[in-house]
């Protein structure tokens, strides 16, 4: 049995996350700045969606809302019928731990933990025993091709390798959705390709739902569909042809 089971076959109509009239604004110096306004769209199960747009267009804000680390001012975001915008903070944290895997632009690994320990970290919030945790973390690291780097600390790894550790950490709990904010933004071309290839594989072979924010067209082309965010509004979804 795989530790990372398929989350279900991709089907066009199978909605995983539904956003309805979502809006969010920030207050700065007494002024209210709307960042996203009245956004409505669905994220499908096993979709690999790239959110594109110029810098400052609100991509990260939207992703943070989807991932439950920020709450909207209006509208609803439901996953599996449950509205996450209604959850109190502690429950939202539990929800995140169970359902969302995070990949950041700057990896955000714990510098004092080894690759293996970093990947194990989210599992310490589960009921899994020590041996199971270790086994799972090793499998996840194997999946991103870092079996030979498990005892290395982040400072001993290249940017690309650190991002792969971060991916392993994101998938080790087998979350419902992976969110990635500019995952290749800090990487050279080759490392970026490696990281994107892994994400593609997670989506195609394991059916992982992925929402990736990027302003890089080349990165976006690894996804299955693209949406553009501009001035707080979302464009139509463009499906990418794949070989």
């Amino acid at each position: 049995m795989s530790i990372l089971p398929r989350t279900g076959a991709a089907s066009g109509a199978d909605v995983l996350i539904a956003l309805r009239h979502v809006s969010k604004s920030y207050r700065r110096g007494g002024q209210i700045i709307p960042v996203v306004s009245d956004i409505t769209f669905d994220i499908r199960r096993a979709e690999f969606l790239a959110l594109m747009g110029p810098s400052g267009s609100g991509k990260s804000t939207l992703l943070n809302l989807i991932a439950g680390i920020d709450t909207p001012d209006g509208g609803s975001i439901t996953m599996g019928g449950a509205d996450i915008t209604r959850l109190p903070e502690a429950e939202l944290a539990d929800w995140r731990a169970a359902n969302v895997g995070f990949i950041f632009q700057f990896y955000n690994l714990m510098p004092v933990l080894t690759a293996l320990e970093n990947v194990e970290l989210p599992l310490t919030l589960t009921r899994l025993g020590r041996r199971d945790r270790r086994e799972r973390a090793l499998l996840a690291l194997d999946l991103v091709g870092l079996s030979d780097r498990v005892r290395h600390f982040p400072s001993e790894l290249s940017g690309g390798q650190q991002q792969r550790v971060a991916i392993a950490r994101a998938i080790v709990t087998d979350p419902t959705v992976l969110v990635a904010d500019e995952p290749t933004g800090d990487l050279d071309r080759q490392s970026a390709e490696d990281v994107l290839a892994i994400m593609q594989r997670l989506n195609r072979e394991m059916g992982k739902t992925i929402v990736m924010v990027t302003h890089d067209r080349r990165a976006a082309e690894h996804a299955r569909s693209i949406m553009q965010l501009e001035k707080g509004e979302l464009s139509q979804r463009v499906e990418l042809p794949h070989d």
């Binding site: 714990m110 004092v112 933990l113």
Partner: protein, 386 residues
């Protein structure tokens, strides 16, 4: 849980120089605190060593006014009194004023019987009782001046002017390490006979009487009875427990002790502010990590505990070193200050106080950073990286 302690342990070793300096600061502060505490306790050693059934009868006018020797007989007749002896403070100078140590004229028959904490070998006591010029000295005093039995000690009297010579008959030890062994005891009858010739007005008098009460529960009643006996007489008395007497005597130096106590707490306060600043700095640098932990689903309590544990670990490591060092440094101080502190023993209470002080510093230093880190907004915290 393992992961938690791993994070704490490695985090505390992360900025080695900063951690080392913080720990060094704590060591210095807790050490200083412990030493000052020990000095204050040494000052009160006489009080702690006081025996509950012993009373001191002194002249009601002041500590330094004498009483007639003849009172002994009448005190002995008071109901409840088991034994009586008397002591006179001599206050002589040995070669140089800076060589200060206490000297007492005592009754050779009864004094050591009533002070079993000063352990005198039987043959020494016998020789003392056979030689009017004899003296018995404490172990520390003997070591300090290299004195041994047979040596002649010459003192220049201040209260009783003139040169005085005593022959060391032997050495006494303390029953336990807290007992003062820096004193010299010589015979009151020798003092008295000499005074009869040199200074008649000072003869036939003693400093205080020491009274042994048969039943500890009756000390108040017996004190009252003794003082009543001498009411309206030429020299009225004031009788109190040895402990009360010592405290009263100590009152004369109280302001110094209060200053020392205050300084010891100021030291703790200083290290608290230094360490609080360090912890705040450390936590600020790690805001992005705390935000990441929260993203992963760890609660604010977990993040706060990380900071608390790190702060407490640093404080306790420092405390452990300081507690280990305190008796060693105290011993050095005892050597350097010679007779000033007859005993500098670091008590269990002091060690406990040191540990509590360090723990308090560790916890209080963590409070503000804990509060900040546990409340850190995830979005803002993550921003701190880029």
């Amino acid at each position: 849980m393992m992961q938690f302690f791993k994070l704490v342990a490695r985090n505390s070793l992360r900025n080695r120089l900063r951690s080392a300096l913080t720990v060094a600061g704590i060591v210095a502060a807790i050490l200083a605190f412990g030493l000052l505490q020990t000095i204050v306790e040494a000052w009160f050693a006489g009080v702690d060593g006081a025996v509950a059934s012993r009373l001191i009868t002194r002249n009601s006018i002041s500590f330094s006014s004498p009483l007639p020797r003849a009172y002994e007989k009448r005190i002995r007749e008071v109901d409840g009194v088991r034994d009586v002896t008397f002591v006179t403070w001599f206050g002589g100078i040995y070669k140089d004023a800076k060589n200060f140590f206490p000297q007492y004229a005592v009754d050779s028959a009864s004094y050591f019987r009533m002070y079993p904490e000063n352990v005198v070998p039987e043959d020494v006591l016998r020789e003392f009782q056979h030689d009017r010029r004899g003296a018995i000295i404490g172990r520390k005093l003997a070591n300090r001046f290299g004195l041994k039995p047979g040596d002649v000690v010459q003192l220049e009297g201040t209260i009783y002017p003139g040169p005085w010579e005593f022959v060391v008959k032997g050495i006494f030890d303390g029953r336990d390490p807290k007992i003062d062994t820096t004193q010299l005891f010589f015979r009151w009858d020798y003092l008295n006979e000499t005074l009869r010739m040199r200074s008649k007005a000072q003869a036939e008098q003693v400093g205080v009487f020491v009274v042994d009460v048969a039943d500890v529960n009756r000390v108040a009643e017996v004190s009252e009875a003794i003082d009543h006996t001498f009411r309206n007489s030429f020299a009225e008395t004031r009788t109190e427990t040895e402990r009360a007497f010592q405290i009263g005597f100590m009152k004369q130096t109280e302001s110094i002790l209060i200053s020392i106590r205050v300084v010891s707490f100021v030291v703790i306060f200083i290290i608290l502010s230094v360490m609080a600043n360090t912890m705040a700095m450390t936590a600020r640098e790690r805001l992005a990590e705390y935000a990441t932990l929260k993203v992963l689903g760890f609660g604010p309590g977990y993040v706060a505990s990380l900071i608390l544990a790190e702060s407490v670990v640093l404080a306790l490591v420092g405390a452990a070193v300081a507690i280990w060092l305190t008796p060693l440094v105290a011993a050095q101080i005892a050597v350097l200050t010679k007779a000033l502190f007859p005993t500098l023993v670091v008590s269990k209470d002091t060690v406990a106080l040191q540990a509590v002080a360090a723990l308090t510093v560790g916890v209080l230093s963590a409070v503000f950073p804990m509060w900040r880190a546990s409340r850190v907004n995830i979005i803002e915290g993550l921003r701190a990286v880029g």
